[in-house]
Amino acid sequence: MASPLQQFEIETIVPIQIGGFDLSFTNSSLWMLIAVGLTYWLLIYGTRQHALVPNRLQACVELAYEFVANIVRDNAGKEGLRYFPLIFTLFLFIFMGNMLGMLPLPFGFTFTSHIIVTFTLAMGVFIGVTVLGFALHGAHFLHFFVPQGAPKVMLPLLVPIEILSYCVRPISLSVRLFVNMMAGHTMMKVFAGFIVSLFSFYAIPAIAPLAVSVALTGFEFAVAFLQAYIFTVLTCIYLHDAIHMH
């Protein structure tokens, strides 16, 4: 039987070598493009009628739009709405990646279960937010690392802690998403494996891992949404820090 980790294997579909780099088109790349295509198609197809009273799909599209818009407004303020397209893209991309990973296909793949993918996204957010902070506030943005109202003697200790906690943001952001997706999918695979191995001996005991598997599947759908949501909310909070400081 295949290892539960086999589902995370990157398989090259079209080998591409550019400048000594292996930029092959892989199953990961394929699912990213599927996520992009499906997201775009759903948004455009859902709104094709421009209905004043939306049908179901259009209601979903509007719901997603307003959902993310509210996250941005609540966490980053009105000024944050300038960056709404980016946050919306981020949410939909991660959400779609997580959800597509739930498809029970033999060639199924969850690109958000790879640390390098989530880390690149988180680094993008981190660098973008930091650059924005300095662009908006100049050197004054460094005051962000000085906690307000703290005793002066504590500052030599507090400032490095603040800087460290700021710098580990991309790591916590990316590890949270990647670990959740990977652990969940591994668990599902492990319990699905139990069903098969138990069933080959006795049919009845296999019901237990089946029940766990069903529960885990539902749980994973919740996690898939929740992690996309958390990533988005945290991005907005970081954006808020950059725009307003404190």
């Binding site: 930029l23 390098i116 580990v168």
Partner: protein
Amino acid sequence: MPRLFLSLLATTSAVLLPILVMAAEPGSSTLPQLDSRTYPSQIFWLIVSFGLLYYLLKTKAIPRIADILETRQDRINADLDRAARLRAEAEAALKEHDRIIAQAQAEAQRRLREAQDRLAADLARHQAQLDAELARKLHDAEARITAAKRAALAEITGAAVELAQAATKRLAGIEVGVEEARAAVLRVAGKGGS
């Protein structure tokens, strides 16, 4: 507190992750996520697809959805505006109605008061006339009674004088003059009372 916990978690990850990555010699790892040979391809395709999605959403999907929402909001706002305008009109009409009613009531009250005043004046005038008439009639009647009384008294005195003359002549055989008899009668009448 959650912030502290988050920092702690993040710090731990920050320490652990490089170790994990270093431990993962290219190709030797059993965890596909740590196989750094796949990183360039994943990063490249991530940037390509994310960029593509961003471009598509920013230029096509978001304006479209925003347009739909805005149209709806405009429609709702227009409807609300119209409702507010109609409401204002209705309120103005109600106010006008109230004003007219109040005016009519005031007018009715004024006329009622006028009529009442006129009636009261008429009544007073008639009362006065009647009183005057009654007083006049009473006065006349009193005058008549007094005259009659006086005439009757005169007649009684005359009769008493004649009676006295006749009685004196018959009883005493003395002829008494009228004047003497009258004086005697009047003297007795005055003594006897009224």
